[in-house]
């Protein structure tokens, strides 16, 4: 089981769920390769030199959809990170910035004129032109396209008509010359660039392949090509991918001769690193202790683009009206929610059960983002049983029958049900500790059905608003752009707590309004939104998870950040290549 990772980005929507701590492979990332001086760099021993190969490990068999437009999981994405690159980059504070492509935006923010660098080559020798980008956008907008990325082109004028088969062309895309392309979008949105699809697809290479046949074509499965520093030499389905240096890479010839991307069982990860069988792999948290003991590796740590939460159910989803209905009064008293926040010893729980690998957060925006509210402007809900008890007393939740547990303000028994997912080794004792925290302040919180749920069962129950679900412990991934739409509005199906308010709606709308083109204004809106969420507590934010990447000391030049541990792999090199 891949006890790790989560996801990331996913665009117009902040969506993206993830599993509490477990489950293999099905994670997604749409992040664009990142260029930033990172503080997480392996210690450099000596001068970089060329030669050698390294092994990049992954814990579950990959599916083999090696084309950015079609891949679905992190398993395939890591291979793509070696073989290709997006046209934009994302900086350390999660801002989308020019890369291979630069752009000019019209005054009404609806037309973008993109220019791409000349002289960039595909691994089959052809030169990269905007036709390749246009082709990628057309493939994704095609009526026969079965991948999940239509959201990343739907803002383009005419994409909808093309998608439904009403148009032969996407009217909003206009090629000026091989290096210049104009894209017109349907409306001004402050995060257009963040959401727009940025991976080119080699048009001539896919000539003659119908869009519906692409996912299973040899161009995707057997001999994928990109513009990145490494090219595919051999694919053994589900087991490994052999990558070799691409000498014409536009940033320069990579130092390594090749990379072997290989699937390993991560239960054996410490032995693998000890033996030198693997050089770099994101490690499961449960292996942290045993990896720390090894002296031939460096452990690198970074917060993941995701957060763990405990949500309250406020109502249900009305599928016909496509809207939430807040009809469950159980948690309507804000003081009850805040008291439950205070009563939780989050740090203690993370230290005891997650090896301290988590950073406490109180709002749902990545701590690396430019839009993250400073910690001194919000309530951090420190562990405080007395405060929790006081709030509960004030709210009228008092123990009236002397059994040590509080009754509700009307004096009837008050039982809360808690749901969570099975995954990592510590999940059961961890859940027990959480429930115990609440019991200590007199709240009778019990595990719904007496046991944690398997992931699919858990999310089905949460999504369908099963009446037995009251408190639920889940994980969400985040996208680069801080816009909370998709998860937090009243017409968002994935708004699992089914909570919203007028102020909440107003602020989210404001954050993507025309005024928000002023970065400072937009930032202030998101600060205000986070303060609102922080005060209202529609969910208890537990922590941002820390991911760890283990790197053999012979491998140099590795950087990691919130988005990836494959950053500029053309600069990787090995100290003493055998």
């Amino acid at each position: 089981m891949n006890n790790s990772k989560v996801i990331r980005a996913f665009a117009p929507l902040l969506l993206v769920v993830l599993l509490l701590s477990g489950c293999s492979g099905a994670d997604t990332s749409d992040n664009r390769g990142v260029r930033e001086p990172s503080s997480h760099v392996t210690a450099t021993g000596g001068e970089p030199k060329a030669g050698g190969t390294v092994t990049y490990g992954f814990p579950s068999p990959f599916k083999g959809l090696f084309e950015p437009a079609f891949y679905e999981g992190e398993d395939d994405f890591h291979v793509l990170e070696f073989i290709t690159e997006p046209l934009f980059t994302v900086t350390g504070d999660l801002t989308t910035a020019p890369g291979i492509a630069t752009w000019e935006e019209s005054a009404d923010h609806k037309t973008f004129t993109f220019k791409i660098k000349q002289g960039i080559h595909w691994q089959n020798g052809a030169e990269l032109t905007v036709e390749d980008w246009k082709f990628a956008l057309e493939v994704i907008a095609d009526p026969d396209y079965t991948g999940p990325r239509f959201y990343s082109v739907e803002m383009i004028q005419g994409a909808e008509a093309y998608h439904t088969g009403k148009a032969k062309q996407i009217s909003g895309i206009q090629v000026i010359d091989p290096y210049t392309m104009k894209v017109t979008v349907t409306a001004a949105r402050v995060n257009t660039i963040d959401n727009l699809w940025a991976y080119p697809m080699n048009k001539s290479y896919f000539a003659g392949v119908a869009v519906k046949d692409m996912p299973n074509s040899d161009q995707v499965r057997k001999a994928p090509i990109g513009i990145g520093p490494f090219k595919v030499k051999h694919i053994q389905p589900g087991e490994f991918v052999e990558l070799t240096r691409f000498d014409d890479y536009y940033k320069g010839k990579p130092l390594l001769d090749g990379v072997l991307y290989k699937v390993f069982d991560d239960k054996l990860i410490a032995s693998l690193f000890e033996q030198g069988g693997v050089d770099i792999e994101q490690a499961p948290r449960d292996a942290y202790e045993s990896l720390k003991k090894l002296n031939n590796i460096t452990l690198m740590q970074t917060p993941d683009l995701s957060y763990e939460y405990i949500g309250f159910k406020f109502g249900h989803w009305d599928g016909k009206a496509q809207q939430i209905v807040m009809d469950n009064p159980k948690f309507s008293d804000k003081r009850l929610r805040q008291a439950m926040y205070y009563a939780l010893d989050r740090k203690g729980i993370i230290d005891a059960f997650s090896y301290g690998l988590g950073k406490l957060v109180e709002t749902p925006i990545s701590s690396k983002s430019w839009a993250k509210v400073p910690e001194d402007q919000i309530n951090r809900y420190p562990y405080d049983q007395e405060k929790a008890k006081k709030l509960l007393d004030e709210a009228g939740y008092k123990d009236t029958d002397g059994d040590g547990l509080r009754e509700d303000p009307k004096g009837t028994k008050f039982v809360i049900h808690f749901d969570g997912m099975v995954g990592g080794a510590n999940d059961e004792p961890r859940t027990e500790a959480i429930l115990q925290n609440w019991r200590e302040v007199g709240l009778d919180v019990r595990l719904n059905g007496g046991a944690l749920k398997e992931m699919n069962t858990f999310y089905t129950a949460v999504e369908e608003d099963d009446p037995s679900v009251e408190l639920f412990n889940g994980v969400w991934g985040l996208s680069n752009d801080p816009d909370p739409s998709g998860l937090w509005r009243e017409n968002d199906q994935w708004n699992y707590p089914r909570w919203s308010s007028e102020e909440n709606e107003r602020l989210i709308r404001e954050g993507i309004s025309l005024k928000a083109y002023d970065r400072e204004y937009r930032k202030q809106v998101y600060y205000d939104w986070q303060k609102l969420i922080n005060e209202e507590v529609p969910m208890i934010f537990v922590a941002e998870r820390e991911t760890i990447t283990a790197v053999n000391k012979r491998l140099q030049g590795v950087k990691i950040n919130t988005l990836s541990n494959i950053i500029e792999p053309y600069k990787w090199w090995v100290k003493d290549s055998e």
Partner: protein, 326 residues
């Protein structure tokens, strides 16, 4: 006669397989989630995409309709498209099958090779130290749960001694061509095959020993010895042949397991074959793959039983006579 018998048995299996498919389909669809919802695949969380996919995949149709659509396709040899891997199920299974076959065949060779040898040695020397040793060893082996044995085997042979590779079916350097890399593949399959065969080896050794000990006291053996046939010839021809009969039943079952592989062993050893594929399919709600793998396994069990019946006849003429009637 034999052929007719085999064909009749195969035809009889069709309704059985249909029944299996109904049960598996119903159970699979009863599992919560459909791979599109929940937290499984965040990339799929665009509500519009989820709705479109459910419609495309026919998940919104009534269950019987979905089932009949599957039967119709399956009857024409098309087992659908894998939801997880985005490729035809037949192709996907074709990719995984060689590894599983190698593993299970190797494991059968290990099982029958060692249990025949050990069982004969023990059976010919009842009560002697060598017999006691073999018996004790097989009891111990029998008692150790497979997953524990697997973990120990991995730790000792792959981690500490480093004799065999950790997981996988082939090394990168040797991966070209199925045949040229056969040696390398066998090395990869050796440890999982040994552990997979361990439990059966222990069981069969004891069965065979018991049969041999029992048969050696029978009248026909005394007759043979009295006729002056050499001791080894009596054991190898007369006794062994009669003692093999119960093992043939097991062989039938083992052939049934050939394609299904071992879900537990493949997953413990990160050996990407049909077993690991099946687990991935279940957790990812890949119905087409689940159905195809279960049916394939069901078919092999039926086929294995037929093979066993035919083998009985070869070993025992009295049974052969029954083919005409039954």
């Amino acid at each position: 006669m034999l052929l007719k018998f085999a064909l009749r048995r195969l035809a009889g299996a069709v309704p059985l397989l249909l029944l299996v498919s109904v049960v598996v389909f119903a159970l699979a669809k009863q599992m919560p989630g459909d791979g599109l919802g929940g937290g499984l695949n965040p990339g799929n969380k665009d509500p519009r995409y989820v709705a479109e996919m459910r419609e495309k995949l026919g998940y919104d149709d009534p269950l019987p309709l979905q089932y009949f659509r599957w039967v119709k396709d399956a009857a024409s040899g098309y087992f659908g498209q894998s939801f997880l891997f985005k490729m035809p199920v037949g192709e996907l299974i074709g990719q995984r099958l060689p590894a599983t076959l190698l593993l299970t065949v190797l494991s059968l060779l290990i099982t029958y090779g060692s249990s025949l040898t050990l069982g004969m040695i023990a059976g010919r020397n009842p009560g002697r130290p060598v017999d006691r040793f073999i018996l004790t060893a097989s009891y111990v082996t029998y008692a150790v749960p497979t997953f524990i044995a697997a973990i120990f085997a991995i730790y000792i042979f792959a981690v500490v001694l480093n004799w065999v590779p950790l997981g996988g079916t082939v090394t990168a350097a040797a991966s070209r061509g199925l045949w040229s890399s056969l040696g390398d593949r066998v090395v990869h399959a050796l440890l999982p095959a040994a552990v997979l065969g361990m439990f059966n080896t222990a069981a069969y050794t004891q069965f065979l020993r018991g049969e041999i000990v029992e048969n050696s006291g029978k009248n026909y053996v005394r007759t043979a010895v009295a006729k002056g046939i050499s001791r080894s010839s009596v054991y190898n021809r007369h006794i062994l042949r009669n003692s093999l009969l119960p093992l043939v039943t097991f062989l039938g079952m083992d052939i049934g397991g050939l394609l299904g592989g071992s879900v537990v062993i493949e997953n413990l050893f990160s050996y990407p074959g049909i077993g690991t594929l099946f687990v991935a399919a279940v957790s990812g709600r890949d119905y087409a793959v689940m159905m195809a793998v279960t049916l394939m396994t069901g078919f092999m069990i039926v086929a294995g039983n037929i093979v066993a019946d035919l083998l009985y006849g070869l070993l025992d003429p009295r049974i052969r006579a029954g083919y005409n009637g039954g």
